[in-house]
């Protein structure tokens, strides 16, 4: 009886260990628990004239490396701009003259915020504002502009 029960305990122990191991695998290998928890990190604010298809939780990349995520997107009715709040990992401070741009990886790829640090010695504090931004390229606008230019040059000739 006693030995039978301990064999049972062993199996249940193995089962629970496998289950917890799987949860850990999902958290560490499949998910992004380690890279970005929801609590640590500091916030930066950037204003864009047009954010294109940027969404909450989109990555913020510097030199192609994911350094943070978009936490919040608001519309400012006084300046008619979009205010994007970024949450950046504590390990990556950015200079005050950082440029934030909105890019798309590939034609159908995800939209992300690209950060390019400048040469300033001072770093942006928590809640700091990124002064220099570059809006998303809207394909329709580009094509419209191209056609308009084409018509203007051919009309001029």
């Amino acid at each position: 009886m006693k030995s039978g029960r301990s064999a049972l305990d062993l199996w249940v122990g193995i089962f629970v260990a496998i289950g917890i191991g799987c949860v850990l695998f999902l958290a560490l290998k499949v998910g992004n628990l380690v890279t970005f928890g929801s609590t640590e990190g500091y916030r930066l604010e950037a204003r864009f004239d047009n954010i294109g298809g940027l969404k909450v939780r989109a990555p913020a990349k510097a030199a192609g490396v994911v350094v943070g995520r978009v936490e919040r997107i608001r519309f400012d009715p006084t300046t008619y701009q979009a205010i994007v709040t970024l949450k950046i990992d504590h390990a990556y401070p950015f200079t005050t003259d950082t440029i934030a741009s909105i890019f798309t990886s590939g034609l159908l790829g995800e939209v992300y915020v690209g950060l390019e640090a400048g040469g300033d010695a001072t770093m942006l504090p928590d809640g700091g504002k990124i002064a220099k931004t570059q809006s998303a390229l809207v394909l329709e606008k580009l094509i419209g502009q191209f056609l308009f230019d084409k018509a203007a040059t051919s009309g001029g000739k």
Binding site: C22, V30, G31, N32, R57
Partner: protein
């Protein structure tokens, strides 16, 4: 002769009414039963060896079926997903597709369905047979509460096993997709894991999946012990109770999944 259609309609109405009253009464009995199981639940943890025994029967014995099914589901997802994704040149997103569908939906739901037919039916049959052979009455006679001794450990054994099995299912599915996608089709391993890691969020995707599996575990285990406890004490009664467990659990899982998904993932696709 004249009144026969009238009595026929009256009979049908009477049957309908009796059936409705009986099912509402059964629902009330089930709610009372659930409360009683909740009240007796501390017993399941005070006498932990009873619960551990049930985790063995519900969880450990389901390991093989869950692991093998998870592996196959992952491989099929990889095959079908690759077929569509490569048309758009997005075959690097295969890991994202497989991981998100497994962690959010298929892991909890399919392992819940397997758990209902593998462990839920066994629990119902066991408790039903105990009732048919009057073991439950004998326990009451000896002043042992069958709810504390028989029902609560089985209920908690199921509730504890289910999330672990769902996590195993998702893990094996991702592994199956890795074997198929990276080893056989030759998708780049770095982009398979990297895109997956970038897209799967711990809080939104994995924790919500675990919450789902806990809810399904509670639903399936409660249905299983109730159907067993409520079975008619005959061979026929036990067999129909087992069938009802599988049918009701499956419907409950799918309906609950819809409700939970609406609450959990409604806000994600919006900005």
């Amino acid at each position: 002769m004249l009144s026969s259609p009238v009595t026929g309609i009256a009979d049908a109405l009477r049957r309908l009414g009796a059936g409705s009253i009986a099912s509402v009464a059964r629902l009330g009995y089930a709610a009372r039963f659930a409360l009683a199981v909740g009240r007796e639940s501390p017993a399941a943890f005070l006498r932990l060896h009873l619960t551990i025994r049930e985790i063995y029967f519900a969880g450990v014995l389901s390991l093989i079926i869950i692991a093998v099914s998870g592996m196959f589901v992952g491989m099929v997802l990889a095959l079908q997903g690759y077929d569509v994704l490569q048309r758009y040149g997005a075959d690097e997103s295969l890991g994202v597709l497989v991981a998100l569908s497994l962690v959010r939906e298929l892991g909890p739901v399919v392992s819940g369905l397997l758990f209902a037919s593998r462990a839920g039916s066994a629990i119902t049959a066991e408790i039903g047979l105990m009732k048919a052979t009057e073991q439950l009455s004998a326990m009451e006679m000896m002043a042992v509460d069958p709810l504390a001794r028989v029902v609560a450990p089985r209920f908690w054994g199921g509730v504890i096993s289910m999330p672990l099995l769902a996590a195993l299912f998702s893990t094996m599915g991702v592994f199956g997709a890795y074997v198929f996608g990276v080893q056989l089709i030759d998708i780049d391993a770095g982009s398979f894991w990297g895109n997956m890691k970038a897209a799967v969020d711990f809080r939104f995707d994995i924790v919500n999946g675990i919450i789902k599996s806990v809810v399904f575990g509670v639903a399936v285990s409660m249905i299983a012990v109730f159907e067993g406890f409520d079975a008619s004490p005959t061979a026929e009664g036990v067999s129909s109770a087992t069938t009802r467990t599988v049918v009701e659990s499956s419907l409950a899982i799918l309906a609950l999944d819809f409700v939970l998904t609406v609450f959990m993932f409604r806000g994600i696709s919006q900005t």
